[in-house]
Point group: C2
Chain length 387, copies 2
């Protein structure tokens, strides 16, 4: 391996300066940002202020004076440009699982309301992250549909009401064809729900450009929002008036403080809200999003591909992640006998990735804080452990 | 009014020492703890450690090493004794609204599974906090039931599948008869879901003693968990094996990291979990619960009644909250013309309560940090404003 090459690539990297924004030291190569993003250095001070002053001193006044009440839409508007969505389309709150339920039930209801053929099927990608499948099965059961495993790229028929697909497969790192599948679903009269957990903040998504109906995603991976930070929900503008949520909490009401017994949904992405937002987790996310100021997602993508290419050049294990750029997320998954033990040893030697059953070593590359020297070191340590 | 009497009551108050645990100063009488509890002083330091060390330094390791993964059950076990529940019955996570949905759908499914008469009705107290009604309507719609307004205490018939009641009415402060209504529901073959938002941490609930089936509640009022801190869900032990959640996220799976495509629910209260927990909000709550060490809920209740009695003696407006102790929560609601403007003026003069449409001044009494001198001052300022 060539120290020189990594150093040259790092020297030429316009995003290299972002690393200092994060609480990372040289002892660890952190390749698990696709599970939990690193802490931006400025967040603790901001959260001290939120806790001690906004909560501790202003107390209830902060719902208005500190902008707590509108945080879900405001932070949604910070995430929107990162996933290629317009302002007013995205709301933050709840977990990804809960948002999958909202989006899928809403999609099914819209499909049912359009008339035409009976649409009794909900397609879910066969290798989905498990929670999407579990929740989709519940959504299907509660709306009288049938959940059908779907291989992304297969034809979509007239019985399909909605299609739920993970943009990047959590295990293999495969990037699915969002524009193509969305177009095929629309051609068949179905709606799409995209799970962006492994693509938001890692690559351009283009929700608006590709006409995606609904999308959900977590914010604690490539968006560095902190452990279990709230998820986001995207609702295409023309679907907002017909977004019929199965979780119509008071926060989605047109006049929440009117406290009327009848539910009358608000206008816009606010329909995706449910109950009182978890302000501390939410404002941590908001603060963490500051690292995106001046960063283009195209630059992130270019570096991600360069990093994963570079890492792949330096490892010898079977690669599960597709080599074609158009099919690759921002991670590299390698097949390895005894992968659990190997990952344990890697972590002990300061290279942090993770293990996925039964035989996958998973390495996430977060371009904002991972460099080429890190990739080289990770590959070298992996070589040592395997030897 | 008599300064002496308030001073004597404060001097004799065994809970008076708890006030110093909170970030409060003498400039404000804070009677809005039934909306947002005050900040316990020790929480900012703890959260600094969680953010800077557990997230910032340990990162992904904290899911195991810092006990993040088990936080929902662990914190549930901290709340359980406060609401009279056994260990292993209570789990923390999501908002109250989302938990109402889980509990009500699960209750309906259990009722449906028992055979017997067709149970097509879901009763919801007619003056419920709005979100419960909105979410119950959705639960009823998605399970083929009919939502029927219920006046607590009315008979419950054989068509009832489940009864959802707010333990303390958010507006009037009326305490409903939990043991009696629960027994009547069971007599009729129905299940109960109690919303404890305004009773958890304010008075003894006795979930276990009274055989309540399910309960939900928020943690940011009398439990001081911080703005939008996660709610809790109680599942009676014998219902746990049949708890069939409409939101079966991966966190409720028997083997979450097995990542199997089929859903197989875990044992116990873990079935109430859904997605990745919002750790920062959740650990803030956990830290805040430290103020309960050595505090008995019976002592809290005794002081709450004494405080509200004392306040009522000193005010002249029409009282909406019942005078009978057995029917009173931990708040006093007064009817007042121009209540919105009056509350605004009260707040400007350092007495913080809140206003509820159309004509209610609402004053919450949190026995851990409100004293008799506070109650006296609040009454005096109210008198000045009205004069």
């Amino acid at each position: 391996m060539s120290d020189t090459k990594a150093a040259a690539l790092d020297a030429a990297d316009e995003l290299a300066k972002c690393r200092e924004l994060f609480a990372l030291d040289e002892s660890v190569v952190y390749l698990d940002g696709n599970s939990l993003g690193a802490l931006p250095r400025h967040v603790p001070a901001r959260m001290q202020d939120v806790i001690a002053r906004e909560w501790g001193q202003l107390r209830i006044r902060s719902w208005e004076e500190s902008g707590w009440w509108t945080a879900p839409e405001r932070i949604g508007d910070r995430i929107a440009p990162i996933v290629g969505a317009a302002s007013g389309t995205t709301v933050v709150g709840d977990s990804t699982s809960v948002n999958v339920f909202k989006a899928l039930v809403a999609a099914i209801r819209i499909a049912d309301a359009t008339g035409g053929p009976v649409r009794d099927e909900v397609l879910v990608d066969a290798t989905t992250f498990p929670t999407d499948g579990y929740v989709a099965a519940s959504a299907a059961r509660m709306t009288g549909k049938r959940m059908v495993p779907y291989t992304p790229g297969d034809p979509i028929g007239p019985r399909t009401a909605a299609v739920l697909v993970n943009h990047v497969d959590y295990r293999s790192g495969r990037l699915h064809d969002l524009p193509g599948i969305t177009a095929a679903a629309h051609e068949a009269g179905a709606l799409t729900v995209w799970d962006l957990c492994h693509s938001a903040g890692a690559l351009p998504v283009g929700l608006g450009a590709h006409g995606v109906d609904f999308a959900v995603g977590c914010t604690y991976k490539y968006l560095n929002g902190g452990p279990g930070s709230p998820a986001f929900l995207y609702i295409r503008p023309d679907h907002q008036p017909s977004f019929d949520s199965p979780l119509p909490g008071w926060n989605s009401h047109a006049d929440p403080f009117g406290m009327t017994p009848d539910f009358s949904p608000g206008d816009g992405a606010v329909r995706g809200r449910v109950g009182t937002p978890d302000i501390l987790s939410m404002l941590t996310l908001e603060s963490a999003l500051d690292v995106w100021d001046g960063v283009s997602i195209e630059a992130v993508r270019a570096k991600s591909l360069a990093l994963t290419d570079f890492f792949l050049e330096h490892v010898s294990l079977e690669t599960v992640t597709p080599l074609a750029h158009a099919e690759r997320g921002s991670q590299v998954s390698l097949r390895c006998a005894d992968a659990g033990a190997v990952m344990k040893e890697l972590i002990a030697r300061g290279v942090v990735g993770d293990f996925r059953q039964p035989d996958i070593l998973r390495f996430g590359f977060t371009p904002l804080y991972v460099g080429f020297a890190d990739a080289e070191r990770a590959a070298a340590v992996l070589g040592e452990v395997l030897a």
